[in-house]
Symmetry: C2
Subunit: 560 residues, 2 copies
Amino acid sequence: MSATRVQFISPRTLRLLSPGRSALFLPGCGGPHRGGGVPGFRSLTSPPLSSSSSPGRALSSLSTTRRALPKTKMSDNGTMSRGKVLTIDNMNPTVKKVEYAVRGPIVQRAVELEKELSEGMKKPFAEVIRANIGDAQAMGQQPITFFRQVLALCSYPDLLSDSTFPEDAKSRACRILNSCGGNSMGAYSASQGIGSVRQDVARFIERRDGGVPCNPDNIYLTTGASDGIVTMLKLLVCGEGATRTGVMISIPQYPLYSAALADLSAVQINYYLNEEKCWSLDISELQRALDEARLHCNPRALCIINPGNPTGQVQSRECIEDVIRFAAKERLFLMADEIMFTPNIRHCVPYSQVYQDNVYAEGCQFHSFKKVLFEMGPEYSETVELASFHSTSKCYMGECGFRGGYMEIINMDDDVKDQLTKLFSVRLCSPVPGQALMDLVERTTTLSALAEKAKLTEQVLNTVEGIRCNPVQGAMYSFPCITIPERAIQEAKKLGQQPDMFYCMKMLEETGICLVPGSGFGQREGTYHFRMTILPPKDKLKILLNNVKEFHQRFTQQYS
Amino acid sequence: MSATRVQFISPRTLRLLSPGRSALFLPGCGGPHRGGGVPGFRSLTSPPLSSSSSPGRALSSLSTTRRALPKTKMSDNGTMSRGKVLTIDNMNPTVKKVEYAVRGPIVQRAVELEKELSEGMKKPFAEVIRANIGDAQAMGQQPITFFRQVLALCSYPDLLSDSTFPEDAKSRACRILNSCGGNSMGAYSASQGIGSVRQDVARFIERRDGGVPCNPDNIYLTTGASDGIVTMLKLLVCGEGATRTGVMISIPQYPLYSAALADLSAVQINYYLNEEKCWSLDISELQRALDEARLHCNPRALCIINPGNPTGQVQSRECIEDVIRFAAKERLFLMADEIMFTPNIRHCVPYSQVYQDNVYAEGCQFHSFKKVLFEMGPEYSETVELASFHSTSKCYMGECGFRGGYMEIINMDDDVKDQLTKLFSVRLCSPVPGQALMDLVERTTTLSALAEKAKLTEQVLNTVEGIRCNPVQGAMYSFPCITIPERAIQEAKKLGQQPDMFYCMKMLEETGICLVPGSGFGQREGTYHFRMTILPPKDKLKILLNNVKEFHQRFTQQYS
């Protein structure tokens, strides 16, 4: 794997990482106990980080080579206390390998900065702007009234007699409650999800796909899309050594994939998206990655993220056909992460289509893998195994906090499907409010504001020398390529950091803008990126983009 | 492991299992496609179950030895279709080992029976009564108005100006919304959970524990308690062969534990609860189980379920002290599943205390592991590592569908805690509505109805010859021991079933009562049990108990 990655870094170590902070070489940097002030609560046995440790060592000490803890240690009150049963050295090693950039050290530092600002500390900025995560409502997007009315009615059915609530919301709430045990969202649902919700989701999919039939029995309601993706990957993993399951993921990828694969000890097979061609997918690159991987593992699945995350592209229909043929030929289980799909204007058209006659013109209409698969005829539609994922977080709903999602499976072996159902049953059911929201996915709306912001982002960033930004076609993310001067790269290396982590941390400290370094998603060796959302309100986004621009220019000047 | 278990059985095979059904040897029992009617949707390549297969074979065919599927097969339209990429033979073998009785074949058959009843089919009963799962609201328990008002206000904040909502609900909703990103439940929360909710949960724990301090930084809000338990177990697993992590669990246990351990390929170490002493826990039995396990694995954690599930006992304070000393001496990480704790009358007293001066008298007051740990002095309170779990499903709230829960960790190594936080961050956050509900755990209420039903269950069942039922002390379950005649045991064996599965399936068919066989939780070899909830409304519970009584007498007569 040549994709670089960012380490998960502890809050304590974070203090060592943040550039330009004088705490870097302070002795006793184990620091105060987190959330401290409760005596007797923190262990007395874990030694503080050595005061002589360099930042580089502090970073590497988070990886697998860690000093051994003493088995017993004299505690403050003079009794011999035992060392911990569970230490970083003897914990699950696969957990340590899990990395997750979206909520990594940059975000942790952003939280600290917000706290410092609230405590009146002076900063070169008045507020932290979070453009690191696709969290629409945290960025001020208002929830859709109808959805929330239905949820309120489901939560507190006394409101059904409230004449201020519209009839359509009431009838939708009744339909949902009637399928709940005891007519209450407080009852467990069937493990696979509420029957009527799965029916509605199936109808939504049929409409999205121009009538291709969808069987509700193939729908599993999940706790966010992550849950479905992780469960599906879990089914696929087997073998040891050279026969260990390998899973192909795009680079850049959404780091849930690498985290889940590390957790499952599966082999991550990277294929690179073509940045020069607007992050498109080349079959030759898939073939290269697969052929190389076959030398050391057993590739069994191919994951596609469409529309792209973090890259924001929309795959063409031709490309999807090629991918399906490739999966059939190479006997790969297809996993289509179609979470970013935004069903709005005129059903089933991504919001980028607002600009169809403008800039993006051709080639960026959303096509689902299932629809293309079924239009390719029985040779494919009856054989290629496919799982497709969606959520309430990333479509136009933007209801992240509810953790609703679904997975549709196609052509899955019946016995395997039974095992899948069993896995779902162990967790009893996904949260019912999220299921109720998923039920509402079928309603349509317009989101031209997002399209406008996509355009603005691309335009402003491309005026900056050293930043190159592909069009944002169908998601809420931009993943621009940035040039980092050699001296800054050296400086980052001295600190044991990825250069784009160094860049983003510095941007956060100077501007309060919270982005995610590209190294957390993977990128071609020697290239650097950041991911930013286009979700902040338009006026705030303008300021944000200008600040990014100015920061980049300052940074470049400083290090060249 | 000598604890017997129930197999997870596919819906198709279920038809073969159900006793007394003429479909048992019908040819073509692969049956209609599930949820069928959508042409082109079911694979044409997976062969139906052989028409000559005996039920015994059908059951064993669900375990690891499975016929190989042909790699290619002629499909109906004459094209050569490929075999599945993912089959029961090449899927993740650890998933296949996962078993989960609470939603096993009995429940699947109950769903079928409900459907058949609704289609007008004649049965010896008018409705299926579900006493298999602790799903209070599905059994007619009304949600607590205040909770649902808060949730409705959080879902649809326009209601904050509605004068019919009480002020305390509004102020609680405002407090929760103010801690949400964008003041919306639709935003992701911090991975560990909303700050103000963790503060409120900490206050609840302090009150529960008579003032023992609780640091909100040690609270993790989870997707139901299962999520916390699985995540904690995951941290603990390492090593191979004789050094593989072993985890001690009680028998009977809640099958989430065995399922999670199978999934993690950890070694399950069974210790048996003492049924003769009302399912109490003997340290000598813990020692026996541990010593035997040390010969073949590395025991690292001890799980306690208190109040018991499925057994309903409440551990005494002395017993908890003994367990803590044992864990310290043997260097075990303690996991206390305190989900069944019901904080009601006079704060922190389980509902069984309603009967304190009556039957249960002494020894069944709830004590949390943390409180006892802290009262044992610094030798223990500063060293013993503990994780404690709770949920919105099983306390007096009964809000199962929201999947709210928390985990409190004590004395965890700082570096391990960072890894735990990282694991939570990969899933972004637990569902916010469940977090909001967890916030409300502090409110108190009375549940004397449950206590009454606990008493009724014990009384009626103990009038039946061949049923012995311990007092239900502090949970919503009863786990009576049943005598099954030898002839019935032989009959079950012929069908390849556990005897208590045979018993429960027969009860379901004849009475519509849905229970869970004891074999799904584990029991001493040669003993048989079932788990039933005491949740149905009192009048329904009376009928249920009488039907159980009559069925047991009929069954005993039939097979002796």
